[in-house]
């Protein structure tokens, strides 16, 4: 199952991205289209077969993984601001875009590069799981989890308020899915507690987090179209 899940996640994200092309061409909320494109691209690169191919072009020393990290940081930065604005949380917007958030992003980014450079990363392997793990690689992986976790933590309270509000039921369900995705992502902070032999659990959590986040975002879009259609029909 953990072999299929990444592909399923990719297929779902790609489908949503493609479905958003018409509205993006019309100029409606292009940022959401870009966010979905970024998520799809990140998922694509993270899957073993494409990863090995791309990293092969880049010299086979896992620079592909480094690129993936920064792609994810960027995705979370933009997605975080967009979601925080949507859910009306000025404090979350400030936390992500303000001095604190920028400082966090810069430090995480710098440490990511530092840990990468001091590690011997020869030999392509997806998730760098084939490398010899040491403290520096642990630090590198922790940085990769830290920034998305930080953004998720900023967003969760505002989304929760919507889930328990009197908003339309479809919107609440979609927000619930988004909340579930981000909570799973936050739970990945506990990955160091998962024994190495249970690596499948990390894969499961990572991809289901991405899957639920995408489904939640798409669900919000759907709830809007649904409400608009109902309005038109009743008018």
């Amino acid at each position: 199952m953990t072999a299929v899940l990444p592909w399923v996640t990719l297929a779902v994200c790609l489908a949503i991205t493609i479905a958003r092309i018409p509205s993006a061409l019309r100029g409606e909320n292009r940022e959401v289209f870009y966010i979905f494109s970024l998520i799809s691209l990140s998922i694509f690169i993270s899957i073993e077969a494409p990863y090995l191919l791309i990293d092969g072009w880049l010299g086979g020393m896992n620079i592909g993984n480094l690129i993936l990290r920064f792609l994810l940081y960027g995705t979370f930065y933009f997605m975080g601001i967009k979601i925080a604005t949507a859910f009306g949380s000025a404090s979350a917007v400030r936390a992500i875009r303000g001095p604190l958030g920028i400082a966090a992003a810069v430090i995480v980014g710098a440490l990511t590069i530092y840990f990468f450079v001091i590690t011997d990363t020869q030999g392509s392997s997806a998730g760098m799981s084939g490398l010899k793990w040491g403290p520096s690689l642990d630090g590198y992986a922790a940085m990769g989890r830290l920034y998305p976790g930080f953004v998720a933590a900023c967003l969760i309270p505002a989304i929760w308020r919507t889930v328990v509000s009197t908003a339309p039921i479809l919107l609440r369900v979609a927000s619930g899915l988004l909340l579930l995705g981000l909570s799973l992502l936050l739970s990945s902070q506990l990955f160091p507690l998962i024994p190495f032999s249970e690596a499948w659990l990390r894969v499961l959590i990572n991809y289901s987090a991405a899957l639920f986040t995408c489904l939640g975002l798409a669900g919000i879009w759907f709830s809007k179209s649904f409400a608009r259609r109902k309005q038109r029909l009743s008018a």
């Binding site: 909320n29 959401v32 967009k82 949507a86 859910f87 339309p168 919107l171 927000s175 879009w221 709830s223």
Partner: protein, 240 residues
């Protein structure tokens, strides 16, 4: 849905011994599946009983009173208090009365609209509340105060709770059923002009104060709805 289906079927046999279930549903204007489901579950909704009574030209209050739960409805109807009557005047009618009194001689106000109106339940409970009513109701029925409040906000009043509330307030048992929309004021035995007369008896000061209170509450509700709406729209605008 607290009418036991055995007792309900006995009652139904009493009023329409020869009618089939299909006939009963047709005459009462209810769905067959709805009735069948309620009978299978063993609990028949009061609203079903009321619809059937109306279909067979029986007073629903009398019909309800044959069940033990609603024994309090037996006997002559207890007349409503003036406060209860005024509470069942719709806010817009109340405002019309204010205008009419300030500018007498203009076109006569139309007849008061029938209860229930959009805030009937809360207005009724406020009208009979001596300050401790909600506590007493939650003590006797075991309903949590916040659930009671939720009913008021949703303008719902389950019949059983309506009876318990009127009992705790010491007013006639049918008032809450009118406010909750289960029965009409005529079915409850309220004289046809009772609400209009109670309204006319209010002094100008009381009337205007009451209208002000109603407007204030209405404004609060509308503002909350607008805020909820804005919140939803912002999410859709950014992510939709």
């Amino acid at each position: 849905m607290p009418l036991p289906s055995k007792a309900f079927q006995r009652w139904l046999h009493g009023i329409a011994p020869d009618a089939s279930t299909a006939d009963v549903c047709r005459i009462a204007g209810i769905k067959r599946t709805t009735l069948a489901q309620q009978l299978v579950r063993g609990k028949v909704a009061e609203s079903t009983l009321v619809s059937i009574s109306r279909g067979f030209h029986i007073n629903p209050v009398q019909a309800l009173s044959t069940f033990d739960l609603y024994a309090e409805l037996r006997g002559d109807p207890v007349p409503p208090t003036p406060c209860e009557l005024v509470s069942q005047v719709a806010t817009i009618d109340l405002l019309r009365a204010v205008v009419d009194r300030s500018e007498p001689g203009a076109a006569p106000a139309p007849r008061l609209s029938e209860p229930p109106h959009p805030t009937s339940v809360r207005n009724w409970v406020d009208a009979i509340d001596d300050g401790e009513l909600r506590h007493r109701v939650s003590d006797t029925t075991g309903i949590a105060p916040q659930n009671f409040s939720a009913h008021l906000t949703a303008n719902r009043l389950p019949p059983e709770l309506a009876i318990a509330t009127s009992r705790a307030a010491g007013v006639g048992p049918a008032g809450g059923l009118v406010a909750g929309g289960l029965i009409t004021e005529a079915e409850a035995g309220w004289p046809p002009n009772a609400r209009q007369e109670a309204l006319d008896k209010l002094s100008q000061g009381r009337l205007v104060t009451l209208a002000g209170e109603r407007l204030l509450a209405l404004g609060k509700t509308l503002r909350r709805q607008e805020q909820d709406h804005e919140r939803t729209e912002r999410i859709w605008e950014n992510l939709g």
